[in-house]
């Protein structure tokens, strides 16, 4: 099964780590995978995207417009930059975090509202899976890693969960970092079960 994933966010949010984990999980399951990150010039705070293409032995790194089965956005405004890559009938996992540029903070530039972003995604013919950042669980008073939570939600709510085995992804996350094993485990599990009940 071919499955293409377009990920966007802001440098420092862990967008590339989500893409890397998906790639590793796919490769471990014997699925051909190509992961192409684009960081631009910024160390932190700039636009970051990643393109993951699963299932083809020979594949170009870039997903065409209207080609992505799944889009994942870690930031509400940056989400808009993934919309044109969405396939009709695709899925969009949107974390509603807001990372305001300076001009927005100063009231000199507009920032897109949550409903407007969702509306654009729906108008592109995709299903919106909205994640409220306020519902990300806390551990020792701090939110668990948002990116692992978002990955959990993508596995739990979209066909990515059929392409990859959720238990295998959880296992990969458990060994990915030396520290914060508990926080990441909790983040992934909470993501898998997000928006239920």
């Amino acid at each position: 099964m071919n499955y293409d994933i377009y990920l966007v966010g802001v440098g420092g949010q862990g967008v590339l780590t989500i893409a890397e984990l998906i790639t590793r999980a796919a490769v471990a399951a014997g699925i051909p995978a190509n992961y192409y990150p684009t960081k631009g010039m910024a160390q932190r705070g700039g636009f970051v995207k990643a393109q993951v293409r699963l299932g083809r032995a020979v594949v170009g790194p870039r997903i065409p417009e209207k080609g992505a089965d799944l889009a994942i956005a870690m930031e509400q405004s940056e989400a808009l930059k993934a919309v044109r890559y969405l396939k009709l009938g695709g899925d969009f996992v949107l974390l509603g975090r807001i990372w305001q540029p300076t001009a927005v903070m100063l009231g000199k530039a507009p920032y897109p509202g949550r409903e407007a972003v969702k509306e654009h995604i729906r108008a592109a013919g995709a299903a919106v899976h909205f994640l409220d950042p306020g519902r990300v669980p806390l551990l020792d008073g701090r939110p668990v890693p948002y990116n692992v939570y978002v990955l959990g939600a993508a596995v739990g709510k979209t066909p990515l969960g059929q392409v990859l085995n959720p238990a295998a992804v959880a296992e990969l996350i458990a060994v990915r970092w030396k520290r914060g094993v508990e926080a990441n485990r909790l983040a992934f599990q909470a993501g898998l079960e997000a928006n239920k009940g």
Binding site: A33, E78, Y85
Partner: protein
């Protein structure tokens, strides 16, 4: 044999190790950096691997190692080829003994900045073979082929990756590296080969060079590097795809087949070596097909060669590409280019907007101009320049501040809007002199980073001193080649220079050049830095200001902090002056007060320096 997830850069580097490379040099440049960086992370006894001062120096080191019979690799981004080329073409004339491979990473679509130049043009001008892998696995294999070819012919060979390939990660089969071959260095004195003194020497070398390229063409054909697959049905479409574009063909042909293409009629020529021109394979394709489609990113080098062959053979069909056809010389290619150009070649009708998604969404996204990181010392320098100009009652649009390559260019963006231009490594200081001679009545300032100063800034400064051209050069020394991901440069602290390395101190270079007015400033001390720049701008002759503070990202990785910052929320009236002046990503707006994000804050204190209500408090550490 083992399988690993590798980037194109890493695969190329491992290919060089498998080929027994002994000397590896380069200068950091996106997207090429990852190749040499991956080797520096490994323990590789018996090999020399270094970041050199610039690409020309790097190339000369690698070339002489190859003259002495060893295998050598030199890595750079496409702009670096401009720097190295003065030596490279001369070395191509002389030929090499050991294998010399030059890795150039091109950036169609410009993910990182700089010109969309096509290194294949340099290969043509210097009569050098160039190999263009289409996949990460091919980057591994063709790098080994490049060393073989280089030694069989006695010529330097380019390997060209593009950004999408250099940065792609995928599973690749690799074998164990070979240690460098035990070769006694060759010492060959032959002025007819190793000098350029006189027309006889140079024209003979030129003839030999052309002969080596022809031989390379024969070997490439014998190796079958360029993959030709003729269809069972003659008279159909022939697709020529260069380098990475070939990786989009299976997907593109499948989509085109759903819209009327008969794949049985399509012949393919996947180009892995575009220069010397693959005339044999192209002739077979022209003989077999009714029309040709040429898919190559950037310049139409193959397309022009194909048109010449078509004319020679009296080919009556169309050659579709950039010169005659829908394809552009700008940007990266993808599946859409394959499908749409096949449709154009065969008059297939595609559904409207097959590859045009909902682009209106993007226009609503908030602008996010890139700025310097929280704690970046350059922030203080831009603020000090702006403040010094204000104190001198100079308007910002009257004072030329030239810019240079690297993180220092970020002063072009808000909230600083300090820097006016960016040309190439080291250009800031030459440009500044031109503006002075043009007759500007206002002070002229050149800004440059430490690694860029070492790379190409020094000759420009020497020129200014020789001609006593009045200007102020501000060197922003953060101790690292930061923008490309923190490489060590000559000015990096001694403890990072390796057991045999030494640090070169800019503060000792400037006075030694005879600069009378030399100021060292701490960019976190806004008042003192402003005063020094203000003074420099009023003095005659060449003034140099050295702004020193380590890159905050690197300092924080070493557990350092510049200070501790906290907010007195009773005093903060949310005037936002700190945000307006610093644009620091660590400052956020809270309930009736600003908030400092303690995860991001390095404690530089610049926000405290601009607060006029004493609402931001600072306890310096550094």
């Amino acid at each position: 044999m083992q399988t690993k997830i590798l980037t194109g850069n890493e695969a190329l580097a491992l290919g060089a190790l498998r080929a027994g490379v002994k000397v590896v040099t380069g200068y950091p440049g996106t997207p090429s950096t990852g190749a040499l960086a991956s080797l520096l992370r490994m323990d590789l006894p018996g090999r020399h691997i270094e970041w050199s001062t610039n690409e020309k120096v790097a190339l000369e080191i690698a070339a002489a190692a190859a003259w002495a019979g060893q295998r050598a690799l030199c890595t750079m981004k496409m702009s670096g080829v401009n720097v190295a080329y003065d030596s490279l073409i001369s070395i191509a004339y002389s030929g090499v003994n050991g294998g010399l491979v030059v890795y150039a990473a091109d950036d169609p679509g410009v993910s990182a900045g700089m010109c969309e130049q096509d290194t294949r043009g340099f290969a043509q001008m210097g009569d050098m073979p160039i190999l263009e892998p289409a996949t990460v696995a091919e980057a591994y294999h063709l790098t080994q082929v490049a060393f073989e070819l280089s030694e069989m012919v006695g010529a330097p060979v380019f390997v060209r990756l593009v950004t999408a390939l250099a940065n792609s990660h995928t599973l690749v089969e690799v074998e164990d590296p070979w240690p460098p071959a035990e070769r006694e260095p060759i010492l060959e004195r032959d002025i007819a080969r190793y000098t350029k003194a006189g027309p006889a020497i140079c024209t003979n070398q030129h003839r030999d060079l052309i002969g080596r390229l022809e031989r390379a063409g024969e070997i490439i054909e014998e190796m079958g590097l360029n993959k030709l697959r003729l269809s069972n049905k003659p008279g159909g479409l022939g697709i020529v795809a260069a380098g990475i574009v070939a990786s989009y063909l299976p997907e593109g042909i499948k989509i085109a087949a759903a819209h009327g293409l008969d794949p049985e009629t399509v012949s393919l020529l996947e180009i892995k070596a575009s220069h010397p021109f693959p005339a044999g394979a192209v002739r077979q394709l022209l003989d077999h097909c009714g029309a040709l489609l040429v898919l190559e990113e950037l310049e139409p080098y193959l397309e022009r060669g194909i048109l010449i062959e078509a004319q020679r053979l009296g080919f009556s069909g169309r050659v579709i590409g950039k010169l005659d056809g829908p394809l552009e010389r700008v940007g990266e290619y993808g599946v859409g280019h394959v499908v749409e150009s096949i449709a154009a070649a065969l008059d297939l009708s595609l559904p409207a907007e097959l590859f045009s998604g909902r682009s209106t969404a993007e226009t609503l996204a908030a602008g996010r101009p890139i700025t310097v990181c929280a704690g970046c010392p350059h922030r203080g320098t831009y603020m000090a320049i702006n403040k010094a100009l204000k104190k001198l009652r100079l308007k910002r649009d009257q004072v030329m501040v030239t810019g240079d390559i690297g993180c220092t260019i970020l002063g072009m963006n808000p909230p600083f809007d300090t820097i006016w231009n960016e040309v190439s490594m080291g250009a800031s200081i030459g440009l500044a002199q031109g503006y002075v001679h043009a007759g500007l009545g206002t002070p002229v300032i050149a800004t440059i980073g430490d690694s860029t100063f070492f790379h190409s800034g020094i000759p420009g400064l020497i020129n200014a001193i020789q001609h006593q051209t009045p200007l102020t050069m501000i060197i922003m020394d953060n101790g690292w080649t930061a923008m490309t991901g923190m490489q060590v440069n000559p000015g990096t602290a001694e403890s990072f220079q390796g057991p045999a390395g030494a640090r070169v101190d800019i503060a000792r270079i400037i006075p030694a050049l005879g600069v009378e007015h030399f100021f060292e400033i701490n960019p976190f001390d806004l008042d003192a830095a402003t005063a020094a720049i203000q003074k420099a701008l009023t003095l005659p002759g060449v003034k140099v200001v050295l702004a020193r503070q380590e890159c905050a990202i690197q300092a924080m990785r070493q557990g350092k902090m510049a200070g501790r910052i906290w907010v007195d929320s009773d005093k903060c009236n949310l005037c936002k002056l700190c945000i307006i002046m610093t644009g620091c990503p660590a400052i956020k707006i809270g309930e009736g007060t600003i908030i400092i994000d303690s995860d991001l804050c390095y404690g530089c204190g610049l926000c405290a320096a601009v607060c006029n209500r004493d609402a931001i408090l600072e306890e310096p550490i550094l």
